[in-house]
Amino acid sequence: MSDKKDLTFEKAMEELEEIVEALEEGGLPLEESLEKFSRGIELIKYCNKKLGETEKKIEVLIKEDDEIKDIVSFEDEFGQ
């Protein structure tokens, strides 16, 4: 995945978890906890975006004489 700052969904979830745990543990100065909170919101937005941006498509690669010829809908090619 080539996202800004190399953020991946997995990393974002991990960081979010750390933030929530740190906040729940308490003891952070208010200012720092506000910073963490807004970072957390950012990560949630990012994750929701990632979860939403996939689409459903089932395709199949068509080869002829070992050459890749086309990619077509699986149902069109093999569906009954």
């Binding site: 979010l16 979860l51 459903k56 690669l61």
Partner: protein
């Protein structure tokens, strides 16, 4: 010949004794026997009874239904086989027999050997190690599936995806999944998917079959292609009981094709719940954090010092006044006390002054050095002394010294 009647056993007793002997023997309890099948009888119950024999001996064998129905080939008289199981006695007939749990037709033995050999080699090389396994992405966007486009496996997988999940794309790379050409096509498929930049996850899969059918998934080049894949690979080959080399080297082994599809996307729901849970916790935490900060601020702002800040200074000012008053008073007291003392000292000085005594008509006598003579021991006969009167001084010499007759007693 004498017989002790107590040492005669019943047939059941001695049979049980023999049974116990057999069942504690390590060789008899876990062995492979090879030979030719004869007198095969497949009962309606599903149990199979047959004899395995070689030129010189035969061995009665039984395979019960729960084992025999797992055989992926038809057992026939005359087949050369290897049988695994244990030997014990069948007391009803007074016969010993082999209780079979696995049968391998001749020829397969070499496949098993090849399987074990490759498995051992690749294991030693480190291809199966857990720390070499890649993590399966939490939310794959596009999954590449290398399998037969016409088999049951791909149908199963698609129906899982249809049922569970609408946010994933699938690209199927058609490949033969049995026969000599299959392994080459599987490798090509894996390599092709690695060249694309939109694939998050690969599944290599086929449905159930005999060990010969599954064989391409036991070939070294397939194992190496899976190992070399930069994209995580899930294997879903055959049934739950089938283990292939591909399963060992894959990043995740699924027991069946549909399980592979489940594993690839099952995370999604869990992830969504987890994200929701984290969001809620984050918001709740922040809410309560802000509330407690606000409460605290409120209680601080309510304190007297913020409500009537002048009180703090009033106190201090009052105290300051008190101090200065005290200081003044103390100074005066000290001064007065000293004044009084001076007066007393002054009058004392006046009364004690020798001049005053002289004025009253007394005199003081000094020696030649000018020290007043106050003790008779300080004078000698003939010594010159000076006497000070109120209106003059005269010098005389000592004529006579009398120690007695002074004022002291």
């Amino acid at each position: 010949m004498e017989h002790n009647i107590d040492s005669i056993y019943s047939v059941s007793q001695i049979s049980s004794y023999i049974e116990a002997l057999f069942s504690t023997d390590k060789v008899l309890q876990d062995l492979w026997v090879k030979g030719e099948v004869s007198n095969l009888y497949k009962a309606n119950s599903g149990h199979m009874y047959f004899t395995i024999k070689d030129e010189n001996a035969q061995l009665k064998t039984v395979m019960f239904r729960h084992k025999s129905h797992k055989l992926d080939f038809e057992l026939e008289d005359g087949m050369e086989i290897a049988v695994h199981g244990y030997i014990n006695i069948y007391k009803v007939r007074g016969e010993y027999q082999l209780y079979a749990d696995e049968i391998i037709p001749e020829g397969r033995g070499s496949l098993y050997e090849a399987f074990e050999k490759l498995k051992k080699e690749l294991k030693e090389e480190g291809l199966f190690e857990e720390d070499k396994k890649q993590k399966i992405p939490l939310i794959p966007k596009k999954i590449g599936i290398v399998t037969s486009p016409t088999g049951a496996a791909i149908r199963d997988m698609i129906s899982v995806v249809d049922r569970r999940f609408e946010h994933v794309s699938i690209l199927i790379i058609p490949s033969l999944v049995q026969g000599d050409k299959a392994s080459g096509q599987l490798v090509e498929g894996i390599e092709y998917l690695n060249k694309r930049d939109d694939i998050d996850l690969i599944i290599v899969s086929r449905g159930g079959g005999s060990i010969e059918d599954l064989w391409p998934f036991n070939e070294e080049k397939v194992a190496r292609a899976i190992y070399a894949s930069q994209i995580p690979v899930i294997s879903g080959v055959g049934h739950e009981t089938d283990f292939t080399i591909a399963d060992f080297v894959a990043d995740l082994r699924a027991p069946t094709p549909s399980a592979a599809a489940e594993l690839a996307i099952a995370n999604r729901e869990e992830i969504e719940n987890q994200l929701e849970n984290l969001s809620r916790r984050l918001l709740n935490n922040q809410k309560s954090r802000l509330k407690s900060a606000k409460d605290r601020l409120g209680s601080i702002a309510n304190r007297r010092i913020f409500k009537k800040p002048e009180e703090m200074f009033i106190d201090k000012m009052q105290r300051l006044d008190e101090f200065s008053r005290e200081l003044k008073w103390n100074m005066e007291k000290l001064l007065n006390k000293n004044k009084e003392r001076f007066k007393i000292l002054n009058s004392k000085m006046e009364t004690l002054s020798p001049l005053k005594t002289i004025k009253r008509g007394y005199s003081i006598t000094y020696d030649q050095e000018g020290n007043p003579i106050t003790d008779i021991g300080e004078v000698q006969k003939g010594q010159a002394v000076k006497t000070n009167l109120k209106n003059g001084i005269f010098t005389s010499s000592v004529q006579k010294i009398e120690e007695d007759g002074g004022l002291d007693e």
